[in-house]
C-alpha cells in the first residue's frame, strides 16, 4: 500500500504544483521519489508532530494540498488538537497519512498499534476517512482525495499487500464498493486491510460461502446518513475492521441505523478485542487473537 501511495502522489505532483509532502522524520525507503523530484515541496518536520501538523495547516491555508506522512499514532494522537482545530475546523486540505493501520506493526508493540485512530478521526465533523483495503483502493482513494482536497485521513497498511480488485475502482464517499458478484442476501462490509480476510474466509470457509463482499474505503461523519438505504438491501451484514469496537467502523454503522431496530438486527460486528492492547505478535496472529477469525 505504501508504494501505491507514493506512486500516486508523485504522479499527481507532476501535474499539480500545489501538492506538498511533509514527513515526521519517517518514510525511509518510501518518500525519496517525491523528495528528490520536488525538493521545494518536501519538508521533514523532524520529530515534532505538533509543529508538523500546525505548519501543514498553514501551508494548506495558502493553497497547498498537504500530505502529512508518519507512522501509526504519531500523526494523529500526538497532534490531535492541531488536527481538530487547525485542520478540521478551518476545513483545510490536509491529508494525514498513517502507515501501520491496525496491528500491521504487531511486533513493535502498543505504541505502534493504530487501533483507536478511527475513534479519534471520525469524531471530527469535516473529516473524510480513507481506509483502503488493497493497493488498488489506495490508488482510488488517492485519486479521489487529489480531485477533492479536504480534511482527510488516509490509513495505510504496510507494504506487500496483494491486489484484490482487478482494477482501480471508482469511489464515492459513503458508498459501498462491491468486490466480485453473486446473487446472495448476506455480505461482508470491510474497511481497511481486513478486506483480504473477508476474501479468504469466503473462499475457504463454508460458513461464508453465501456472502458477498463490500468494502467502504471512504467514510466519516458526513456520510453516515447514506448508510440506512444500503443496509436495507441486505438480510445480514458482517463488518470487519482492525480497530477496537469503541468508536470504530462497525459502531459507526450501528449509529447510522440507531432509529431503525429492524435494521440494527441485521448487523453483526467483528473487531479487535482490547486484549490486543499491549500484546505483541505478527499482524495475523494479533488479528486472530483479537477476534478477527472466522
Amino acid at each position: 500500500m505504501r508504494n501505491a501511495f507514493i506512486e500516486e502522489l508523485v504522479q499527481a505532483a507532476f501535474v499539480n504544483e500545489k501538492i506538498a509532502l511533509v514527513v515526521g522524520d519517517l518514510g525511509y525507503g518510501v518518500v525519496e521519489p517525491f523528495a528528490s523530484q520536488f525538493p521545494k515541496r518536501f519538508f521533514n518536520s523532524g520529530v515534532a508532530e505538533q509543529n508538523m501538523m500546525g505548519f501543514s495547516a498553514g501551508l494548506a491555508s495558502e493553497g497547498f494540498h498537504v500530505f502529512v506522512y508518519s507512522i501509526a499514532n504519531f500523526p494523529t494522537f500526538r497532534c490531535a488538537e492541531q488536527i481538530r482545530n487547525d485542520v478540521d475546523y478551518h476545513q483545510l486540505p490536509v491529508t494525514v497519512v498513517a502507515v501501520g493501520g491496525g496491528v500491521a506493526y504487531g511486533n513493535l508493540g502498543y505504541s505502534h498499534h493504530a487501533v483507536q485512530d478511527y475513534a479519534l478521526m471520525r469524531a471530527m465533523p469535516n473529516m473524510l476517512i480513507a481506509s483502503p483495503g488493497d493497493p488498488m483502493e489506495v490508488r482510488a482513494c488517492m485519486r479521489y482525495l487529489i480531485k477533492n482536497p479536504q480534511p482527510s485521513y488516509l490509513r495505510l497498511g504496510k507494504a506487500g499487500e496483494k491486489n484484490l480488485h482487478p482494477e482501480v475502482p471508482e469511489l464515492t464517499p459513503g458508498k459501498w464498493l462491491k468486490l466480485g458478484s453473486g446473487n446472495v442476501q448476506k455480505t461482508f462490509l470491510t474497511t481497511g486491510a481486513p478486506l483480504a480476510l473477508a476474501k479468504s474466509w469466503l473462499e475457504d470457509n463454508i460458513n461464508y460461502s453465501d456472502f458477498a463482499i463490500h468494502s467502504l474505503p471512504l467514510w466519516g461523519m458526513k456520510w453516515k446518513s447514506m448508510q440506512i438505504e444500503q443496509i436495507r438491501e441486505w438480510e445480514e451484514i458482517l463488518t470487519l475492521e482492525d480497530h477496537l469496537l469503541d468508536g470504530g467502523f462497525g459502531s459507526w454503522l450501528l449509529e447510522s441505523s440507531i432509529s431503525q431496530s429492524n435494521l440494527l438486527q441485521r448487523l453483526r460486528l467483528k473487531y479487535l478485542d482490547p486484549s490486543v492492547c499491549g500484546s505483541v505478535g505478527k499482524q495475523e496472529v494479533l488479528n486472530a487473537m483479537g477476534g478477527l477469525a472466522p
Binding site: 506538498a20 521545494k40 515541496r41 519538508f43 518536520s45 523532524g46 515534532a48 505538533q50 509543529n51 508538523m52 501538523m53 500546525g54 505548519f55 501543514s56 495547516a57 498553514g58 501551508l59 494548506a60 491555508s61 495558502e62 493553497g63 497547498f64 488538537e81 492541531q82 482545530n85 487547525d86 475546523y89 478551518h90
Partner: protein, 251 residues
C-alpha cells in the same frame, strides 16, 4: 464589549492594543480592500482570548463595522470570545494556546515556496511560551531561515494564576531565543516608535522575534499588573472609571 458580554480577558486585550495599533496602522500591508488579496501581510493572534483587541482594531480599520462589536458575547454572535476566522480580516481561529506560531510557520513556508514577499506576524502571549509546540516551531523556522516571519511576544509577566516567574520561568528568554537561531529585539510594547522600528527592521536570513515588554491591563490603573483581571469582569462603576481613565489618557 467585555462588560456587556460579562466576559473575561480584558487585561490581556489591553496589553496588546498598542502592538496592534502599530501593526495595523503603520506596518502591515492591509486594508479593507486587501483582506482577500494574495499580497496582503498576514496577522495571527495566537493568544485568541485577547480577541476584543483585534475585533476593535479591525473595526477601527473599517474591515468590520463598529456596530458589530456590540454583538460580542451574544448567542450566535460571529464575534466569538476566542478569535474566529469567520470574522473578515481574521486569518486563523485560536483559543487553544501554542497553535498560532506553527500555523504562521506554514504560511511563511508557503510564501517562500511561491517566491512571494508578503510577511507573517504572529502575536504570542508569555504564558503560551510554556507550550512545547512553540519551541518546535522556533527550531523549524530558524532551520528554514524564515526571515518573512515575525513573532511578537506580549511579555506582561503575568499568566492565568500567578506571575510567569512563579509559574514556569522563561528567563533568560532573549538568550534562549537567540540560541534557537532567531534575531531578537526588545522594546517597550507601549511605545509606538520603538515598536515600529523593531517591526520594520531587517533580520537577514533569520526569523525575527520581538520581545515587547507590556503591562497587563495597560491604561486602567486598577487593572494594571493585577492577576485577577485575567478573568474578572468590570461592573458598572469599574467600567465608568476605566473609560474615564482611558479617555483622559487619550486626550
Amino acid at each position: 464589549m467585555v462588560h456587556r458580554a460579562r466576559a473575561s480577558h480584558i487585561a490581556s486585550a489591553l496589553s496588546i492594543v498598542d502592538i496592534l495599533a502599530v501593526l495595523y496602522g503603520r506596518v502591515m500591508n492591509i486594508s479593507p480592500s486587501l483582506i482577500k488579496s494574495e499580497t496582503r501581510d498576514r496577522f495571527i493572534l495566537s493568544k485568541g482570548h485577547a480577541c476584543v483587541a483585534l475585533y476593535s482594531t479591525l473595526a477601527e480599520m473599517n474591515i468590520i463595522a463598529k456596530t458589530e462589536l456590540e454583538t460580542y458575547g451574544e448567542d450566535f454572535s460571529w464575534l466569538m470570545n476566542h478569535v474566529s476566522h469567520k470574522v473578515p480580516g481574521v486569518e486563523f481561529s485560536t483559543g487553544a494556546l501554542g497553535h498560532g506560531l506553527p500555523f504562521g510557520v506554514g504560511k511563511s513556508l508557503a510564501a517562500k515556496a511561491s517566491n512571494e514577499i508578503w510577511r507573517v506576524f504572529v502575536l504570542l502571549s508569555d504564558g503560551e511560551m510554556d507550550e512545547g509546540s512553540n519551541w518546535e516551531g522556533f527550531m523549524f523556522a530558524a532551520h528554514h531561515r524564515l526571515d518573512n516571519l515575525t513573532a511578537i511576544l506580549d511579555y506582561n509577566k503575568l499568566q492565568s494564576l500567578d506571575t510567569i516567574s512563579n509559574t514556569l520561568g522563561l528567563e533568560p528568554l532573549r538568550a534562549k531565543l537567540e540560541s534557537f537561531g532567531w534575531h531578537v529585539k526588545e522594546v517597550d510594547g507601549h511605545n509606538h516608535d520603538e515598536l515600529f522600528e523593531a517591526l520594520t527592521s531587517k533580520s537577514a536570513d533569520k526569523p525575527l522575534f520581538i520581545i515587547a515588554h507590556t503591562l497587563k491591563g495597560k491604561g486602567v490603573s486598577f487593572m494594571e499588573n493585577k492577576v485577577e483581571w485575567h478573568y474578572k469582569n468590570p461592573n458598572d462603576e469599574q467600567l465608568a472609571l476605566a473609560l474615564a481613565e482611558l479617555g483622559e489618557e487619550n486626550a
